[in-house]
């Protein structure tokens, strides 16, 4: 109808004379049989258009359309191995392209759902027949560094199908997981494999921890898996905050798993990275992160009159900055650990205090008689202060009896429960009390003594020296929260953490790299400003692929050949009948309009 309305607006064409045009249009048209037929043809075309329009409005359908309606669930594997680039642009993109084809091939009255099968199975889009919604949902699925969870995803998909007669699960995967062949053998599962058998070498473990004995020592555990059908030569480079720590050339036999523990020393801490210098299809397992806690210098004020053992045991610790004084200081240095040997003030100062062989009473205890030849019969083995310390075979000729005013925590005690080594917890700072006389007996000569001192220093320092384990992708962990914080993924995307809770569960962590828990950056700043003003992280968590299954990019030969689920792609009658009727009506009316404009019909 619009075409006919448009015809009214004519283009004005100036001509020098209208004489010749008049001769054309004033010639009498002979009314031939063909012209009469043209009228008839025009009428028939218009009637056909009207019939088609009415028919389309009635929305006709065939019975088989309802009976044969399908319920499909598209399981998209977005695990780490799908990031492999052995097929361009990547296995995941290929899978997504295949998914687009399946969506396009949906018939009218078919329904489809999309489930992501990486890290944690997740229903991305519920059952719907809307292609646009499905396309948008599929576009929203992104590749992760997480482990494959196809089996769980298929279980979830089957629940969505719920025994529908034409239900089917289409799995878009590279087949690099256990049980892929078995899954493909199921009748209700159509497994579409993308990618080829590809060799790969990956870091499957990377951890770092502080040495339990050496205050500045640390140990690195690295594991490399050659998931190839041939030997490989490569190089492993380990760096700490950009400084090279070690470079290890590797020659790996096919299928070999190489691992080694490196022992290094440094008080510095930071991000430690391990990188495999090997060009392969999967980049996610060529780089791994670990976090090495920094060892902070500790200031110790020793109040003693020339006890060489005590001085040496603190001097031997490279993290200790020792000050020896003979009289108790009026005011202890802030943050410093004060060690009183025998001489002590009537009121212990605030801050961490270690009292050894006290010579008098104070505000926390009452000093008693000498305790001769005490034997350590009870020892708190679970306390970090007593880790690697055994006192039961140490000769202790003399100690002092102490009566605590509060309730101390005993670390070591004699036969009748007399405290020999105890912890007093107070708001102003914890106090350690060792009642043993160091000048007598062999405690200062035993290895237990420096270990006790190291433990005590570490305990006073808090938990800064603890192991912070690198997690594998897909892992869930709990963290203590002091205030309202945000979780920042390695690519910088923030996620809010619950407020007003002591601990929060984070995860599953789906990306490799270092995750940060930090206060929220001020909104409205530019990215550069935000980087400059980035608040220090309250906690960092290293996350690595660390999964031999994901590093192995070699699916079975049988799966590689299964390229397309042709049966599901059957695309006849993808649209309702009214759509075809309407399209036909439109074609007819357009043709009629064209012919009319050319005056082939009247």
């Amino acid at each position: 109808m619009i075409f006919y309305i448009l015809k009214i607006r004519l283009r004005r064409v100036p001509v020098s004379t209208i004489l010749f045009w008049q001769q054309i249009f004033e010639e009498k048209q002979p009314r031939s049989i063909w012209q009469r037929l043209r009228h008839l043809l025009s009428l028939l075309v218009q009637l056909a258009f009207l019939c088609l329009l009415v028919l389309a409005l009635a929305e006709p359908f065939f019975k088989w359309e309802i009976l044969e309606a399908r319920r499909l669930v598209l399981v998209v594997d977005n695990s780490a191995s799908m990031r492999a680039t052995d097929v361009a642009p990547s296995r995941f993109d290929r899978a997504r392209q295949a998914g687009e084809r399946f969506i396009d091939a949906l018939r009218f009255r078919d329904e489809m759902a999309i489930v992501a099968a990486g890290t944690q199975p997740q229903v991305v889009c519920g059952l719907t027949g809307q292609r646009r919604t499905l396309h948008e949902a599929l576009d929203g699925v992104s590749a992760s560094d997480g482990p494959t969870r196809v089996a769980e995803a298929v279980t979830l998909a089957r629940r969505l199908i719920s025994k529908h007669s034409n239900g089917r699960v289409i799995v878009l995967t590279d087949g690099c997981f256990e049980g892929a062949e078995k899954l493909a053998a199921n009748d209700d599962v159509e497994l579409v494999a993308v990618g080829a058998r590809t060799n790969n070498v990956g870091l499957t473990r990377f951890q770092v921890r502080r040495s339990l004995l050496d205050p500045i020592g640390y140990e690195i555990l690295a594991e490399v898996f050659n998931a190839s059908d041939e030997p490989v030569e490569c190089r492993l480079e380990i760096e700490l905050d950009g400084d090279v720590v070690d470079v290890v050339p590797l020659t790996l036999a096919k299928g070999e798993i190489w691992n080694r523990v490196f022992e290094k020393t440094s008080a510095e801490g930071g991000q430690m990275t391990a990188q495999l210098d090997h060009d392969d299809a999967l980049a996610a397992d060529d780089l791994a992160w670990a976090l090495l806690p920094r060892r902070e210098m500790q200031r110790v004020t020793l109040v003693s009159e020339d006890n060489l053992f005590l001085e040496k045991v603190f001097e031997a610790n490279p993290l200790v900055k020792l000050t020896v004084v003979k009289e108790p200081p009026q005011k202890p240095a802030p943050g410093a650990i004060t060690v009183f040997h025998r001489k002590l003030p009537a009121t212990l100062p605030a801050g961490p205090v270690w009292v050894i062989d006290p010579s008098g009473s104070c505000d926390l205890w009452q000093l008693g008689d000498k305790l001769l030849n005490p034997i350590v019969t009870q020892q708190d083995k679970d306390s970090p202060l007593m880790a690697h310390v055994r006192l039961d075979n140490v000769i202790l000729p003399e100690a002092r009896e102490i009566t605590f005013k509060g309730q101390p925590k005993l670390l070591a005690s004699a036969v009748e429960g007399e405290p020999l080594y105890a912890v007093i917890e107070r708001p102003g700072g914890n106090v350690l009390v060792l009642t043993v006389n160091l000048d007598q007996g062999d405690l200062p000569l035993r290895t237990a003594f420096p270990i006790m001192a190291t433990n005590a220093l570490a305990w006073f320092a808090g938990n800064r020296g603890e192991l912070r384990e690198s997690l594998a992708t897909g892992a869930i962990t709990e963290v203590a929260l002091a205030s309202s914080l945000m979780l920042y993924s390695p690519d910088g995307r923030p996620r809010p953490l619950p407020a007003n809770v002591a601990t929060a569960t984070i995860g599953p962590l789906e990306l490799c790299g270092v995750w940060r828990i930090a206060p929220a950056t001020v909104p409205g700043r530019t990215p550069d400003e935000a980087d400059e003003a980035k608040p220090p992280a309250a906690l960092e968590i290293a996350c690595n692929l660390a999964n031999r299954g994901e590093s192995d990019l070699r699916p079975s030969e049988e799966l590689v050949t299964n390229e397309e689920a042709t049966a599901v792609l059957a695309g006849f009658a993808v649209r309702p009948i009214w759509f075809y009727l309407l399209a036909l009506a439109l074609i007819i009316v357009t043709t009629e309009w064209y012919l009319y404009q050319r005056r082939w019909i009247s």
Binding site: I18, F20, Q597
Partner: protein
Amino acid sequence: MPLFGSDFLKKLEYLSLISRRVFRGSILAQRRTMQLGGGIEFADHREYTPGDDFRYLDWNVYARHDQLLLKRFQEEEDLHIYLFVDCSRSMDFGSPSKFDLARQVVAALAYIALADLDRVAIVAFSNEILADMPLARGKARILSVLKFLENLIPQGTQTDLARVASGFVHRTQRRGLAVVVSDLYDPSGFERGLDMLRHRRYEPHVVQIFDPREANPEVLGDVELYDIETAANRKVTVTERNLRKYRRIFDDFQQSVQKYCRSYGLGCTRTSTETPFDQLILRMMREGVVKS
């Protein structure tokens, strides 16, 4: 860009030289009249009658045959050329317009004629004689000719060549060459006007000008045709078939002009506005459309 700029004048001079060197004796000014008189070129003898001038007696013949015969000479005289320029609105079509080309052609013909000492008059017409420039002689008058042509504007309601010719032939003036420069889109037919000139012993010559878009219009679909001469409108649907028909009708019209001129021995030059005026004049010279 002025219609008669320096380039135009240079071309005029060039055409004038060409006309003298190459086509001497075959163009406008070298025409001889059939009138015998005091020229220098011998024509024939006649019997002596009393009162004749003795100076023209052929004494050699008298000596040889004892017969008094008088020598007669062909007299040369200047030619009167009337240039008709169509100023109807239909001439103001195309780019460059037919009107511009017509004025350039008339100017060129006038220049050549004046240079050869012929007398030239210009008549501007559409449905009637709009303006005319009286007979002029001598090359010095070319500037007034150009000024006259420059001042012309397309006007009038409808071309009526018969009415124009009727008004023209009733004037008391010598006969001569009548060059009609027009598109000949006359609703009552161009033939009547030319017939009138012909019957009154003028020697018409037709220069028919058309625009390429008239010969091959690029019009298709539903359009409103607007006649710039009569301001008439017509809503039509132009199809390929109509276009083919139009071309046929237009060709027929062109052929009819050609056929008419050939029938009566009139000079006829058809040209498109794509042809520059100098090339057109040269073509007219080569074809010898104006001969004695």
